[in-house]
């Protein structure tokens, strides 16, 4: 009864399929599509921060960031990915010394990576939609990390397929400037969502910016140069991070990362809060319901967030791990974060 898609011999499904295919067949694309695409590519070849109009904006960003010690090189004429990989003075490169692991999917070249933090959303059945953080390794560009992260948030995809983004998946970031502790992010489009989701979308963006730019505490949003059009809130003032307990995922499973290949013993780490600080975890063989290992460990208690860690020995194979709080009432898992991974 609750099967989402009826079997194909369902009369309504058949009717739908038939109507859609007939309707689709009536559409014949014109012959100049490829030509249009190529000229579109040509126009877009210059990234926006190299367009003359954006140089002023970017220059301001450089000024804002130079105070924080991050040197940004502008004006190189080819964007073939040759970047002054001189990020060593940046505020966020401490993590660059950690050994590489497979995170954000296939990447063509084994060159240097900029690590950015990108926030995504998971709809936790027990506490509603909340923010979850992923670390993405991207080919460096000579722009502030916050820009790279915002571009990833709007045009990239979460590594964890359970996560989603509330923003249109389009290149909507048009500008980034920092003055004091306030960043101004210019967008070409705003979200069109209900009040709760809109608030979380803004927090998704604010968290992503502030995670990648240590100088920034507040973010002002502009859409086409104006206050974001919202039917719910007045976004004219800069926005800071909301209290963690209101917006952040209550249990983040940070390692193993989604689709990672790791060796045994597998380090389990995360961040979160739970009743009396107790976070439980379970490992299943991929695609099976049989729990092959389980345990619990200590995170922050009752609204205080803290790191947690544990480790487990596993035979080579594909697994899924879930971290969660066991309901004090009936033991059912709450606030689950899960990752699929492989033990080599």
């Amino acid at each position: 009864m609750t099967t989402p898609f009826p079997p194909d011999d369902d009369p309504l499904a058949a009717r739908l399929r038939d109507a859609l295919h007939t309707e689709a067949d009536m559409v014949t694309p014109s012959n100049d599509g490829l030509q249009q695409i190529r000229s579109g590519i040509e126009q877009s070849q210059r990234p926006w921060w190299r367009h003359p109009a954006a140089i002023a904006v970017a220059a301001a960003a450089v000024l804002g960031l130079a105070v924080g010690g991050l040197a940004v090189t502008l004006g190189g004429d080819d964007d073939s990915g040759t970047v002054a990989a001189d990020q060593t003075t940046g505020p966020d490169t401490s993590a660059a010394s950690t050994p590489p692991e497979s995170t954000s999917g296939p990447n063509p070249t084994p060159t240097a990576r900029d690590e950015v933090y990108v926030y995504f959303v998971l709809d936790d059945p027990a506490s509603g939609p909340r923010l979850y953080r992923e670390e993405h390794r991207l080919v460096p560009k000579d722009v502030p990390l916050a820009i790279l992260a915002l571009e990833e948030m709007t045009t990239g995809s979460p590594v964890d397929p359970d996560y989603t983004t509330l923003w249109p998946r389009q290149p909507i970031v048009r500008g980034y400037t920092v003055e004091g502790d306030t960043a101004t992010v210019e967008l070409s489009e705003f979200v069109s969502l209900g009040a709760q989701a809109e608030e979380l979308a803004v927090q998704q963006l604010v968290h992503t910016v502030t995670a990648n730019d240590n100088d920034v505490k507040r973010v002002r949003l502009l859409v086409d140069g104006k206050v974001p059009p919202s039917g719910h809130f007045d976004w004219s003032e800069p926005v800071s991070r909301a209290p963690m307990v209101d917006v952040q995922g209550l249990i983040w499973l940070l390692t193993p990362t989604q689709d990672a290949t790791v060796s045994s013993p597998v380090e389990i780490t995360g961040y979160g809060t739970a009743f009396e600080g107790t976070v439980s975890w379970e490992v299943r063989r991929d695609g099976s319901d049989e729990v092959v290992a389980e345990g619990f460990t200590q995170a922050g208690a009752n609204g205080e967030f803290d790191e947690f860690s544990d480790s487990v020995e596993l035979a080579p194979g594909a697994y899924e791990i879930r971290a969660f709080e066991s309901s004090a009432e009936d033991g059912r898992p709450l606030h689950v974060d899960s990752k699929a991974f492989t033990v080599e």
Partner: protein, 172 residues
Amino acid sequence: MSDTAVAPAWGADDAVTHLYAAHYRSLVRLAALLLHDAATAEEVVQDSFVAMHGAWRRVADPDRALAYLRQSVVNRSRSALRRRTVALRHAPRPAPDAASAEHSALVALEHAEVMAALRRLPPRQREVLVLRYYADLSEAEIADAIGISRGSVKSHASRAMATLRADLEATA
């Protein structure tokens, strides 16, 4: 298919050429079903190819490239629908096949009813059904294309089918 064999060597320009040849038509049709407007559908798909070219260093894989294109088409179609304030500009319908006029008139009416009911659904529900019954995507692929969880795909699908069933029975 044979695409996969040459894939690792693709640069961004090759990717556009190959994916255009293999998928442009079906993506335009997908967008046309979401938008009910063939001209805008082409623009949406062309913009998606341009965006994919720009994101190639991150995509760089033929399977992910098609998934990226689908996501982009679904998103851009939704934005285009939101922007469209004027009355729907219907794509011109070709004349029905003359030889089977009577039969095809009935069929066309039947299809028109289904399409009208589909257009009355909320955007995500409509997207789920079009991706399922036109593009033949799996639940996971639909989740990826729309950017929602598999659980949401299921709930959108079952709500959409229930509404459609009630709607079409009422007009039958």
